[in-house]
């Protein structure tokens, strides 16, 4: 969003990675439902998995993913690390002495690790409580939305002056095909 997002009306690595993440969530949802035999269908998510790979490949043609990924929990862990280390250093008499400084840094690291573990525990608890709603792979609106977004990105890629980016259009065309085939009631 804002400064670090893709320009309006353009395909780009960030919007494409978001699209791939969206597809990925549909894939694991359908897979989990297949595992529990709630909605046995190993073919649908296999096809959507191919679409996810194609969209990721298209995103890769625009540039590498940022090494700083991980979202909210990682950010919060980093902030905790800095806060814990800084407050210990403010309390000790000589913050530049080797042992207190090293101890403060390791305590901050521990704080960050606790935050990450707590976040993992919370999202686990949330997933345990969550009710199983309708499967997105059965939802024609999701199918339509995904195909529309992929095709818009493909159109933007096709019009791109950069030749490498134009190659992404082919990946996205294939991805749209797999999405069309993978959703329930789809078919080649």
């Amino acid at each position: 969003v804002g400064l670090i997002d893709d320009g309006p009306g353009r395909a780009g690595p960030r919007s494409l990675r978001r699209l791939a993440d969206r597809l990925f969530r549909v894939v694991v949802d359908a897979q989990a439902r297949d595992w529990t035999a709630e909605r046995p269908d190993p073919v649908g998510f296999a096809l959507l998995g191919r679409a996810t790979v194609e969209v990721r490949r298209a995103a890769g043609r625009y540039g590498r993913a940022s090494p700083l990924r991980g979202g909210r929990a990682v950010l919060l862990a980093a902030v905790t690390w800095i806060a814990v280390t800084a407050s210990i250093l403010l309390l000790v008499d000589d913050p530049a002495a080797p042992l207190p400084l090293a101890a403060a840094i390791v305590c901050g690291m521990l704080g960050g690790q606790v935050v990450i573990s707590a976040d993992a525990g919370l999202s686990r608890a949330r997933a345990l409580r969550e009710a199983a709603g309708p499967a997105p792979i059965d939802d024609p609106a999701v199918r339509g939305e995904l195909i529309r977004r992929i095709e818009a990105a493909a159109a933007a890629a096709r019009a791109d002056p950069d030749e490498r980016h134009r190659l992404a259009a082919e990946d996205l065309e294939r991805a749209a095909g797999w999405v069309a085939a993978g959703f329930a009631g789809g078919g080649p």
Binding site: E38, A46, G49, A96, L101, S123, A127
Partner: protein, 214 residues
């Protein structure tokens, strides 16, 4: 499921995948080549994810590895920069930079250690797969005759291994979805499962196509 049991199951699935690869060995005619090659690639990739599913290093184990290293590096850098007479603020800046560099190196190192640990865990020779003997080739005279039977068995076995990682009371799709998206073990099993399903699906489709030629 106990960890050792998981490793045994993963090895059993790997044997089945290897059997399926042997069954797919052989020369196929041109129109089928793409399909069979694609299926073989998927099986090889699935095998890599099955190895990764052995779990690697847990976050807290990694922390126990990092903490002493970071402590030693930070203390040494602080002592060194004080010895050359840097003012207190610069000592802290130097130490922070050194810590971050050490941490980047450690993360790369744990990745490699994790890979080593995984291949060690799955190194024990997997016993012969139960069921009817070694794989029969499914390629006859350049044509595909069937979907390799070990492949479907591998998929079933993999899913049951994944489910046994979770207590039966929690076999609900939102929780499994959460694990498939983020758990160290189940994430890799999930990727391998998608690849196996893709291989099964393409081979099925190719057989359909073939039956239409006659």
């Amino acid at each position: 499921m106990v960890r050792r049991a998981l490793h045994a199951e993963l090895n059993a699935v790997r044997t089945l995948v290897a059997d399926a690869l042997t069954a797919l060995d052989g020369k196929v005619d041109e129109p089928l080549l793409v399909v069979v090659d694609g299926a073989r690639d998927r099986l090889r990739e699935a095998d890599r994810h099955l190895v990764a599913a052995a779990g690697g290093i847990s976050p807290w184990a990694a922390f126990c590895l990092y903490a002493p290293a970071v402590f030693a590096a930070a203390a040494a850098t602080a002592a060194g920069s004080r010895a050359i007479g840097l003012p207190a603020a610069w000592v802290i800046v130097t130490v922070v930079v050194a810590t971050l560099l050490v941490l980047v190196a450690l993360v790369a190192l744990t990745g490699r250690i994790g890979a080593r640990v995984n291949s060690r865990r799955l190194a024990r020779a997997p016993g012969p797969a139960p069921g009817p003997g070694r794989a029969r080739s499914v390629i006859d005279d350049g044509r595909l005759t069937a979907v390799p039977e070990p492949l479907s068995r591998a998929r079933v076995r993999l899913v049951s291994a994944a489910l046994r990682q979770v207590s039966p009371g929690d076999w609900r799709s939102p929780y499994l979805r959460h694990l498939a998206a983020g758990d160290r073990v189940i994430r890799q099993i999930s990727i391998a499962d998608v690849l196996l399903c893709q291989a099964l699906d393409t081979l099925d489709a190719a057989l359909d196509e073939e039956s239409r030629w006659d």
